[in-house]
Symmetry: C2
Subunit: 161 residues, 2 copies
DNA sequence: CTCATTGCAAATAATTTGCATGTAA
DNA sequence: TTACATGCAAATTATTTGCAATGAG
């Protein structure tokens, strides 16, 4: 399972993006009367420092390298929190695992998925972005996120056959 | 020009489309030495007669109204077969259920999903279709299927709030 | 006859939840 | 002090699988 980011160098979220994400979370927690704990801080920091498409499994491993006593239920609960407040988006690519992305990032790229090797390649196309806004407007939808995934066989797997 | 299919909810696949699907299945089964059984016939017929986005649950209910002794494992196995031979596509809209669509149909429309009421609206836009082909070509992908989903709040739910 | 297929129940796998204990505020 | 949060294990949910019996070719 490989992620091709070569086509979009400098793809790491900017400090500004991260600060915006933290602010959304802070506001949501304040509004709901939620508390800031060591676990939430570690999980959020780890998530924000991770590449896209992290699974709960991967995240838990990385979180435990900082604090081994974090339970997996807490990771699930915190990622659900991040999703609710709009910082993260859930994705299912068909391999049975739920993955998470920074919401801001997922609005800037989409995915090509190889059904042979499960490899994920990112792509970006502004034309599609604007068409999406147009379609949402046509139906009176307030757009929150989107998924655009192309499934097929990648060049490498075609050659290997 | 884009075609709004959501305003044609009574849409059904043409006889030709259905015949093509049956032929793909027949060819696949012949090639793999698979057998035609009562259960498979009922399940396939029911699937082809169903609206898009059927879940296993819904399908099983409809199948059992024809033949009450069909087991749910058989429905799973048959839908997997339909997916393998290219007749059906699996989809996950985030409500925890896997849904299935006729592959031909899913290449002609995409989805707007309301995260408040879980309502699914279909849309179609030819521009996106051709951009997808272009992107796949750019990465050397042999395209098999795609998912394009816009998540947000529908007009009705916005008003209700 | 042979071997694919089926139904059932048990097994998996991912995620959620109940609850006693811990801890921000 | 007062809820919210956590860890753990048990519960849930969707899907898969083992296996003996059945049935297609």
């Amino acid at each position: 399972m490989s992620v091709d980011r070569a086509s979009h160098p400098g793809h790491t979220p900017s400090e500004e993006t991260l600060e915006q994400a933290r602010e959304m979370l802070r506001a949501y927690m304040a509004r709901k009367g939620l508390r800031s704990t060591d676990q939430r801080r570690v999980i959020v920091d780890t998530f924000l420092a991770s590449a896209d498409h992290v699974s709960i499994e991967e995240l838990l491993t990385r979180v435990r390298s900082h604090d081994p006593r974090v339970g997996y239920a807490t990771v699930y609960r915190t990622l659900k929190l991040l999703t609710e407040c709009g910082v993260a988006n859930e994705r299912q690519f068909g391999d049975g695992l739920t993955r998470f992305e920074l919401a801001d990032e997922s609005s800037h790229h989409d995915h090509l998925i190889c059904t042979a090797c499960n490899g994920i390649t990112e792509f970006e196309d502004e034309r599609v972005e604007s068409i999406q806004d147009e379609i949402a407007a046509r139906y009176g939808f307030r757009l929150r996120s989107h998924k655009h995934e192309l499934y097929g066989i990648c060049q490498t797997c075609q050659a290997r056959k």
